[in-house]
Amino acid sequence: MTETRWLADPQVRRGAVITALVMLLALLGPWLAPHAPTAMVGPVYGPPTAGAPLGHDFLGHDLWSRLLSGGVSVLWMSVAAATLALVVGGSLGLLAGFSRRRLDQAISWAADVSLAFPDLILVLLIVSMLGRAPWLIVLTVAIAFTPGVVRLARGSAVAVAGQEFVEAAQMMGYSRWRILFSEILPNILTPLLVHFGNMLTWAVGMLSGLSFLGYGVAPPAADWGLMINENQAGLLVQPWAVLAPALLIAVFAYGTNILAEGIGRVSARIGEKQP
């Protein structure tokens, strides 16, 4: 469980460094940007120059400044959505896996039904009906992810709940909450954390996709997904306007993905030592 053991693994370290770098860039970007993201400072689709290392976009904004400012939205929204899905889905799945019987049936049934909906369609549906406020987008993405977490948490919890140390706790008469959160939860945390990493990757992709389709962050603001959408017409004239944000999204997704996979591998190795 200890972080030091995870960080000893080269893949985990690599993933953590890549993820941290992109996050740092996105978080500190707005302060580092030479221009305001909405200031039109150069020619439309202007090529890279000494003052503007990446050139200008379709309205003549400085692309470098927009890139630096456009990460925060996508990052906080993906982290918020994945966290929300983890907390809600994890709790429901834990409850279902331990209680069995009727509550389990109800929760599992609901999760299965919502799993049948394709994620992106569900999100598009809600966003196109209710609007594009950031909190609403976060909420809908979280809703789309929750059933997967429920399934995972329930499956892991069922396996743990059948073990004798849980029976021993029941026999002592510990409260249900105590058994759920101090006996079972620590034992299913690792698969959930790995899943959290995966959800982060998916959320970034989904949020960028939403922005690209025009349902994400509203236009004057800077956003990596939105930038790809805005600048696609000039792809041949000024490829950086599309490639740079796409590259950053890809690098972030890659980082979170190998981080999640590394954590999974290390904990599987730790698990092997226990017969």
């Binding site: 073990q163 029976e167 021993a168 002592m172």
Partner: protein
Amino acid sequence: MTAALKVDSDVLRVSDLRVELAGQVDVLADVSFSLAAGEIVGLVGESGSGKTTLATALLCHARQGARITGGRIAVAGQAVLELEGEALRLARGGLVGYVAQDPATALNPALRIGALLRETVLAHQPRLTTDALQQRINETLVDVGLPDDPAFLRRFPHQLSGGQQQRVMLALAFVLRPKLIVLDEPTTALDVTTQAHVLETLKGLCRGHGVAALYVTHDLAVVRDLVDRVMVMYAGRLVEVAGCETLFKAPAHPYTRALLAAIPDIARRQPLQAIGGHAPAPGQRPAGCAFAPRCARRRAECAVIEPSLLAFEGGQQVACLAPYREPLPLGEQGVEVAAAPSAEVLLEVQGLDVAYDRQVLFDVSLQVAQGECLALVGESGSGKTSLARAIAGLGENVQGQLRYGGEPLAFTARHRDARLRHQIQYVFQNPYRALNPRQTIAQTLSAPLAHFFSVRGDAARSRVEAVLARVSLPARVADLYPHSLSGGERQRVAIARALICEPRLLVCDEITSALDVSVQASILALLRRLQREGLTVLFVTHDLGVVRAIADRVLVLRQGRVVEEGSAEQVLGRPVDGYTRTLVAHSPSLSVG
């Protein structure tokens, strides 16, 4: 490549075999022995002694991380370690057969018995005609005592009993007519009666076909009637090799004596002697004799000189500087009599029925007196665990009546009050699953203290350390996680968790079946001591030897019904019921008879 170089009857010849882990840490070293045709030899040792490593090395296999780095293995004149690729594949199974420990996981559940056998033969002899193949399979099935009709061949492994499954494993090994067969604890998963029958079959097969067999086990009693010779292994070395008679009558190595003293025997009541300390892990061998730190006959030179296996009179070989020369003293050793149980009844079970898909307990009644140890004995499926769980408050679908201390007792722990929940404690069979792997031992042990007695902080810590001392564990264990403890230590912690609740009744469900004999001896001694201190124990087991070592009274269960009940002396010595008599007769024993 021919066998003409050696003209003797030895089927297997192993010399100076050495297996290493990374970093030149030896798991196995200086192992030399030979097996004649038709000879069955037992390889005995505790877990971690290297016996399974030796067994698989005979098939030129080393588990991941280990490497066979030296020595020669010749089976019927063929140097197995020099084989590669296709030749090695054909030798595995064709020349050396292997029977794994647990047939339930070793047989592919998706293949029918017929397909399993056909596949095995065809992998080695692809040109066999259909008729010859069928005839070979039928002969083998009859040899191992299984039906050879087409209906049986169409069955799946899960449709067979455990004994039949292990016979199928034997058939799979013998159908290729190997010269040598390696069996890795093949009967540990079986009931005693089934075990006795399977061992009888195995003996007949080896004698009949002239196949040499190496039988790996941790239980000396099991091999008593089966093998011709026994090899005892400790810390990756053979420490004693002797004929069966000699080994049991006059064991020369102190470790062999210690092992024998640790085995519970149905025939005589003796205080079990645990072996103190631990077997050294690979890479932590002390200089000199590896057993010296645990040896009562240790001399100064034992810490310096590593004894090699030297021949004694009568073919006995011993690796010891101070071997025993005299035979094992016979006769009963005095046993301290436990405090006479009072007449006061602590627990009363009346007309208990348990039914899941089918009924597993029928109208079971019993009484446990304050301070006694009652053993519940039965084979798998007898309902003994269901009964124990019902008493502990983990039962489902229970009907009947439970009374504790004269008052009615609810079936589920949730409906019992806190006093009952801490006075009745349960210890689980599998120590590996009974402790939360994410909690330190201190956390596991102090949780009930806070829950039942509202004891927290320093007071809790000192109670935790006191209870660890009571189960003979050092206080530093408190800050460890379960995965850094051995199986025996975990079971002690599980017992400590029960003890810290200040129980009056302790229900133990097969708590030693996952442990080595020497560890089992120490756990049984611990329970005996606790019982003398006034604890009432309900001990569930399938091992009559263990019953003899610990129980005051015995209750025999068969298919959910009580068939016999009485004092341990009476039930094991003069069993009345036919079923009990079979159980007693088939229980492996160290004594002659």
